[in-house]
């Protein structure tokens, strides 16, 4: 396999609401791809081909065909679990109907737990941590916060938001039964202009903490409205660091907005150098580090399988353990969910200790706690159907 070129199809939204996120990730893929092409265990060259799915599942299926036509055997997607579910299903069918032309689906950020539970597929590998894992870490953190007594769950009214709410209730009840969930609300996705009524509701409920899976302007506007209304509670979030949100948050929410993720902006070490280089080169911030997992693990698996054939590589990926930027990570064989350490970080002024400032806001996400893989690991109900 040495010297072979491996084409990876990036199928995600490059225009519209999630366009900026997609653009950022494409750059990450290209940037890291260059690094890996210089040296990787398998000695292959990666080439990323981008496709814009406009955030539409049906469109993504077309692009899957387009990628297959071009002989691409590895596809990558992550922004939007609805697309992920559609793709996972489609890849499964494609591989059944086109033996010898199998495709592997590498998911870098679609976090719906179903993808590795009831709807798991042999051909799908997730490199992000799913909602349940993140909530596991978040609740472990909250467990040790005595001032958290009343929690409000405010989420986007779609699969991701529903799951955040569901797992929050479940894990909190398990770990801190004394915490009261004083309110729960779902708001329409990307349609709310003014969160003031929701904030009023939060205040009225007496909650001292808000748990939200919101991303994009839904998160920024929420925090902004809370500041304006004089709400002083904490926010536990999933996506504070994603494109656009830092700018929109600005100084607001300093010290009160927490994020749970498999990385943050002040990781230090090798990945920090990459992040700085990326920042200098693109004038943008690299936050989808799971892409680095993908390159690391894929090239390792190819080296192990001594082939770039997806069937063999998929088999080699199962159970593979590597050392990645956030420590030792393992692709769990039973459900193809990457087991990895998670971090809680907090939005605050950048300082000498935590200097990296996303979107030149003068703010940063400073780590407050790290959880090892086993802490956030959650059981799976996946009954993997392996080919053959």
């Amino acid at each position: 396999q040495k010297g072979e070129t491996v084409k990876l199809a990036y199928i995600d939204a490059l225009s519209g609401l999630m366009g900026p996120v997609g653009q950022n990730q494409v750059k990450t893929f290209q940037f890291l791809g260059e690094k890996f092409n210089k040296s990787n265990p398998a000695g292959v060259k990666f080439e990323v081909v981008t496709f814009d799915n406009k955030l539409s599942p049906a469109e993504s299926l077309n692009l899957l065909k387009a990628a297959a036509d071009q002989g691409i055997r590895y596809i990558m997607q992550g922004n939007g679990s609805s697309v992920a579910l559609a793709l996972s299903d489609a890849v499964q069918k494609h591989n059944e109907r086109n033996p010898g032309k199998e495709i592997v689906y590498l998911n870098y950020s679609a976090v719906d737990p179903d993808l590795t539970n009831s709807k798991c597929s042999y051909w799908h590998f997730r490199f992000d941590a799913d909602t349940s894992m993140k909530m596991e870490a978040m609740s472990s953190f909250i467990k040790d916060q005595p001032d958290v007594k009343k929690v409000f769950l405010l989420n986007q009214n779609y699969a991701h938001g529903h799951q955040v709410a569901k797992y929050a209730k479940e894990t909190l009840a398990r770990k801190r039964p004394d915490i009261q969930v004083v309110g729960e609300d779902l708001h329409p996705l990307a349609q709310v202009r003014d969160f003031a009524p929701y904030v009023a509701k939060i205040k009225a409920s007496g909650a001292d903490t808000v748990i939200t899976g919101n991303w994009g302007s839904d998160l920024a506007l929420l925090v902004k409205a809370a500041n304006e209304a004089g709400y002083n509670g904490k926010f536990f979030t999933y996506y504070t660091g994603v494109t656009g949100t830092p700018t929109a948050l600005g100084q607001g929410g300093a010290g009160r907005v927490y994020q749970v993720a498999y990385s943050h902006y002040n990781m230090g070490g090798e990945v920090q150098k990459l992040a700085d280089e990326y920042n200098k080169k693109f004038n943008d911030d690299m936050y989808t580090n799971s892409i680095q997992h993908i390159y690391t693990m894929l090239s390792q698996a190819m080296a192990n399988a001594k082939s770039t054939d997806p069937v063999k590589v998929a088999a080699a990926l199962e159970g593979l353990s590597v050392k990645s930027f956030n420590g030792e990570v393992t692709m769990r064989k039973t459900d193809h969910q990457l087991q990895q350490p998670l971090f809680i970080s907090v939005w605050q002024k950048a300082d000498a200790k935590f200097p990296y400032s996303p979107e030149k806001t003068g703010m940063t996400l400073a780590p407050v706690k790290q959880y090892d893989s086993y802490v956030s690991s959650t059981p799976t109900s996946c009954q993997m159907k392996r080919p053959g």
Binding site: A190, K201, L221
Partner: protein, 340 residues
């Protein structure tokens, strides 16, 4: 209680912002018969232009110039594109504004980037206008400015701040209402415009320069949207999605209020604004309502998925529901005079 009060205020302010947008839309719609799909785009352009101008001329002049610039843009569009398709009928007019909304969105992103820009209110508009203090014994009271911690930290006291930007927004909207009302009732331009709607040739034969008037109307409508954009931009976030946020809802406002009626647009805006806000506080659903009458609704009851939805959850669709009902039972709208 204070929650209801503050939500009432929120609903009003959001309704007034809608009014700033819908007044321009209804102006264009009723006078030229054009459903301007790009109206929200002009709103967005207003915010972005003001954002750029603030650095040069300061906020208050930007508040003046940005709408003017947007108005000029709108007038130019009318002159160069819309006027050509006017004779083809309403559907092409609508589609061309549809196309324009795409183009504007892309151009805005090319010029100002694809993510939010930090457009903040000037210092004089930052902070709270007043604080609602609800005291366990003394009840609810209002305090100008931000109430200090010495008051709010007391046991059992809840403070809610109402931001200055929203008060500013409400004031601008009301001023605009007054100005528009004067313009339309005290000038003959309004008559010329309405007459041109059906018989442009005749109006011209009577000595009125119809194309220029139409251009002015379209430009003014857009300028109003631009003004709303500046105010909306500092109150919320200035980003490429801000047009989509407003999207179809302003059409709802115009239809509910009654096509062609400024007063209707005002009433419609307030109604829709409140409708988007107040029900959010209600957590009940049809199921809970029925159960309170002892109906015994359980997850196995037929139609449970529908009955289960809480009022808060369905809030976003209430304006559309209202619009459909209004169209069916009172097609003129609340205050409208025309049916078509």
């Amino acid at each position: 209680m204070d929650q209801l009060f503050i939500n009432l205020l929120n609903g009003l302010s959001s309704g007034l912002l809608l009014f700033m947008l819908s007044s321009g839309l209804t102006l264009i719609f009723s006078m030229m018969g054009v459903l301007n799909f790009a109206h929200a785009s002009f709103y967005m352009v207003g915010a972005y232009v003001a954002y750029s101008l603030v650095g040069i001329v300061g906020f208050w002049l930007a508040l003046l110039f940005a709408p003017l610039a947007v108005g000029a843009l709108g007038a130019a569009f009318e002159r160069l594109a819309l006027r050509r398709v006017h004779k083809f009928g309403h559907v092409p007019e609508l589609l061309i504004t549809f196309g324009l909304s795409y183009v504007i969105l892309e151009l805005v992103q090319l010029i100002w980037g694809r993510t939010a820009v930090p457009f903040t209110p000037p210092p004089s508009l930052q902070g709270s206008a007043f604080t609602i203090v609800s005291h366990p014994v003394e009840g609810m009271s209002l305090m100008l400015g931000k109430a200090g911690p010495e008051i709010c930290a007391a046991a059992g006291v809840a403070c809610s701040n109402f931001p200055l930007t929203k008060v500013f927004m409400m004031a601008v909207a009301l001023l605009m209402l007054l100005a528009l009302w004067l313009l339309l009732t005290r000038t003959r331009v309004g008559l010329v415009i309405q007459a041109s709607l059906t018989h442009p040739e005749m109006v011209e034969a009577l000595g009125h320069n119809v194309p220029r008037v139409l251009m002015l109307v379209f430009g003014s409508g857009c300028a109003l949207a631009g003004l709303a954009g500046v105010v909306g931009g500092i109150t919320f976030v200035t980003e490429p999605n801000m047009a989509a946020f407003i999207g179809a809802i302003i059409f709802v406002v115009v239809v509910v209020g009654g096509i062609g009626s400024l007063a209707g647009a005002f009433v419609g805006s307030i109604v829709v604004g409140l409708l988007q806000t107040l029900p959010l506080t209600i957590n009940g659903s049809l199921a809970t309502l029925l159960n309170s009458f002892g109906a015994g609704v359980t997850p196995s009851t037929p139609g449970y998925p529908l009955l289960r939805l809480t009022v808060a959850e369905v809030t976003p669709i209430l304006p559309y529901l209202l619009m459909v009902l209004i169209l069916i039972f009172r097609p003129k709208g609340l205050l409208g005079t025309r049916e078509d």
